[in-house]
């Protein structure tokens, strides 16, 4: 049986994290959750290699911007596509430039399409 790609959900709102996890599992993805950027970074440094990272921006301990900075600073982690989800239009475009952005409230169909575009390699070999 095909092993479904894994999605890392970085989101401090437990309710939201759980709902997204439930939905994506129901859609056949494997999911992992992190409460903030720091936790996510620990998971990645521990060897987790998700197909896509869903990243909230405003989080305690380590916010989305800082996580992105750390991620882009690591050649290996920088390759993982990121979908930013936030309730406010993000600033710090240089960090988020090549990330997809979804404004909250999130439409699950939009989310699904955004994830699918990133997990299915196209024929030209690009990840996006």
């Amino acid at each position: 049986m095909e092993v479904k790609p894994q999605i890392l959900i970085v989101e401090d709102d437990r309710e939201v994290r759980e709902t997204l996890g439930y939905f994506l599992s129901a859609m056949g993805y494997r999911t992992a959750g992190a409460e903030n950027g720091h936790e996510a970074l620990e998971l990645l440094q521990g060897g987790l290699r998700p197909a896509v990272i869903l990243l909230d921006l405003m989080m305690p301990v380590m916010d989305g911007w800082e996580f992105r900075e750390q991620q882009l600073g690591d050649e290996d982690l920088a390759r993982i596509p990121v979908i930013v989800t936030s309730a406010m239009t993000p600033r710090g475009e240089e960090l988020l430039a090549d990330a997809c952005f979804l404004l909250k409230p999130i439409d699950l169909q939009d989310l699904l399409r955004a994830i699918e575009r990133r997990v299915r390699p196209r024929f030209d070999g690009g990840a996006n």
Binding site: D13, E15, V16, E18, T19, L20, Y22, F23, S25, A26, M27, G28, L57, M58, M59, P60, V61, D63, G64, W65, A87, M88, K104, P105, I106, D107, L108
Partner: protein, 570 residues
């Protein structure tokens, strides 16, 4: 008679010797001239018995010689001489021909009309002349008067007139002999001099007034003269602004205020070179010694509207500069406050929108999953569980309501409409409930409530809950997952609630801000929220007649203390 030279006139008018000589001459002439035809005006012995037999006994040939001599003299002196009878009839019996040059009437006209002389006296001077004449008549002393006389053409001529009375041996008045000097030029010169003096005095007064005005002006004013910008004038405000510690008037600007000179020299040079005024708004001035480049609003920083105006000499060249600076510090600070308030409001709206989006996001996600279940769509083969999603919807609605309540509280408090439902409440009980609710699902070791016994007072139960909830949730939020301690105690008539965390803590600056509206100590990126919690709590505490305080150190945590009187003031 030509208009006489003022100098000569001054000599003649001021020097009695000369006058005496002329008068003596006239007297002689009068004495001998009884039978003489003096030009057109003749002195007729018959009409002047007073001239007496002596005069008549003079030999005609000798008389002619004398007459010619005196006549030449009289007609050459720069004055009009006259002899007037005091015995009625024709008033003037002789006038020298200079009368024509002086007033434009010839001798004949002048002597033939007995009151012509009086008509030609300036109306305003007639009374003075009459009084003086009367006084002279009474006392017998010589008559002296300056009068204005009108020429035939109506022009005013200033005449200094002097006359003496000639009497017979019995002392009876015979006639008046006199001389009139044209002192118009002298008078005009004097008038001009007086006008100049008056103008100078007025200019001096004007300067003094201006100086006084500049001195008292609620602005810094300074005049800098010449290429070295010598300080010609510096009003007290300018001296204070520039930091003058002594009188620097007369000193070049670079010596008096080297630091200031460095800053303004380019401006001064340009105004001097171009003659164009320089105007700059809100120039920041820091006290001497305070380095530039510090953040705005530093202690002692002031702002000025500065004008540098060129002052020109008579040839139109810039020879001085007028520096004028108006202190607009209050205006700048007030505007900044308004700008800050507006920015705060703008930020708040943006934050509020964001904060409202979060529960809406949760709602929408739960709804979408629920919809999938209700549509009977296979959700990854998981069993449908509508209740779970309805619960999640409930939680998000609660969050949304709390946010809306918070916003309404702001509006209520701002409008002064915070209503309190006072009742008997045990603060310990309220605290216990809030702590239980807030820490449900957390490690039980993470919070501890300490209380010796009930602490009952008259408060608004819901508002009290709000206070405790705000402080406890803040302690959890910013407590870095470390244990928090809540204590309730009673001290006399005061109930004290304290909430201690060992989290990120607050800087002294943040401690001063956190109770204000829309302020947050923690960065927005890390911690959401409206930035209203502590402000609302502060307002409620104050409404209950209490006070709230914080002690904190960055990295060590914070201790919030609320003190409430048991019997609230309201």
């Amino acid at each position: 008679v030509a208009k006489s030279d003022p100098k000569e006139v001054r000599g003649a008018g001021g020097d009695d010797l000369e006058l005496d000589a002329v008068l003596a001459m006239l007297a002689t002439l009068a004495e001998i001239g009884t039978s003489i035809e003096v030009g057109i005006g003749s002195i007729e012995p018959a009409s002047h018995p007073a001239l007496g037999p002596e005069a008549q006994s003079v030999e005609p040939s000798r008389l002619h010689v004398v007459e010619a001599r005196y006549r030449a003299l009289i007609e050459q002196i720069p004055a009009v001489t006259f002899v007037a009878s005091l015995a009625g009839g024709r008033n003037e019996i002789y006038v020298s021909p200079q009368i024509e040059g002086l007033l434009g009437f010839d001798q004949e006209e002048w002597t033939s009309d007995p009151i012509l002389w009086y008509r030609q006296i300036h109306p305003d001077d007639r009374q003075g002349l009459s009084l003086e004449f009367a006084a002279s008549c009474m006392s017998g002393r010589p008559f002296k008067q300056v009068v204005r006389v009108l020429t035939r053409a109506g022009e005013v001529v200033w005449v200094h007139a002097e006359a003496r009375f000639v009497r017979d041996e019995q002392g009876r008045l015979l006639f008046l002999q006199g001389i009139g000097f044209d002192i118009t030029e002298q008078h005009r010169a004097q008038e001009k001099l007086m006008q100049e003096r008056a103008a100078r005095a007025e200019a001096d007064r004007e300067r003094a007034r201006l100086r006084e005005m500049f001195t008292g002006l609620p602005a810094a004013v300074s005049v800098l003269r010449g290429p070295t910008y010598r300080i010609e004038f510096l009003n007290p405000i300018a001296a204070e602004v520039a930091g003058a510690e002594r009188d620097v008037t007369g000193e070049p600007l670079c010596d008096a205020f080297p630091e200031l000179f460095e800053r303004v020299a380019p401006v001064l040079d340009e105004v001097r070179a171009t003659g164009e005024p320089f105007v700059a708004k809100e120039i920041s001035v820091r006290p001497p010694g305070q380095p530039a480049g510090q953040p705005p609003g530093q202690e002692g920083e002031r702002w000025f509207h500065l004008t540098c105006q060129p002052l020109h000499d008579r040839r139109g060249r810039v020879d001085a500069l007028l520096l004028h600076a108006v202190d607009v510090t209050q205006e700048v600070l007030a505007r900044r406050q308004v700008e800050e308030a507006l920015q705060l409001r703008e930020d708040f709206v943006s934050v509020a929108a964001h904060e409202l989006r979060n529960p809406v996001n949760g709602l929408k996600l739960a709804f979408q999953v629920l919809r999938l279940h209700l549509a009977g769509a296979p959700v990854g083969g998981m069993p449908p569980d509508p209740t779970r999603w309805l619960d999640k919807i409930d939680v998000q609605i609660e969050r949304l309501m709390r946010l809306i309540e918070g916003l309404l509280d702001v509006s209520r408090i701002t409008a002064g409409r915070l209503h309190l439902e006072l009742e008997r409440v045990d603060l310990v009980e309220v605290a216990r409930e809030v702590v239980e609710r807030s820490t449900s699902g957390m490690d039980p070791g993470r919070s501890a409530l300490r209380a010796a016994g009930p602490v009952v007072g008259t408060w608004d139960r819901l508002r009290l809950e709000q206070i405790v909830t705000d402080l406890v949730t803040n302690a959890i939020k910013y407590g870095a997952e470390k244990p928090i301690e809540i204590a309730v105690e009673r001290n006399g008539q005061i109930a004290r609630l304290s909430v201690l965390d060992r989290g990120i803590g607050l800087t002294p600056e943040d401690q001063a801000r956190i109770f204000q509206k829309f302020e947050r100590a923690a960065p927005l990126r890390r911690h959401g929220g409206l930035g209203l919690g502590l402000w609302i709590t502060h307002q409620i505490v104050e409404a209950l007649g209490g006070r709230i305080a914080v002690e904190s150190r960055p990295g060590s945590g914070s201790l919030f203390t609320v003190e409430l009187p048991l019997e609230s003031a309201r």
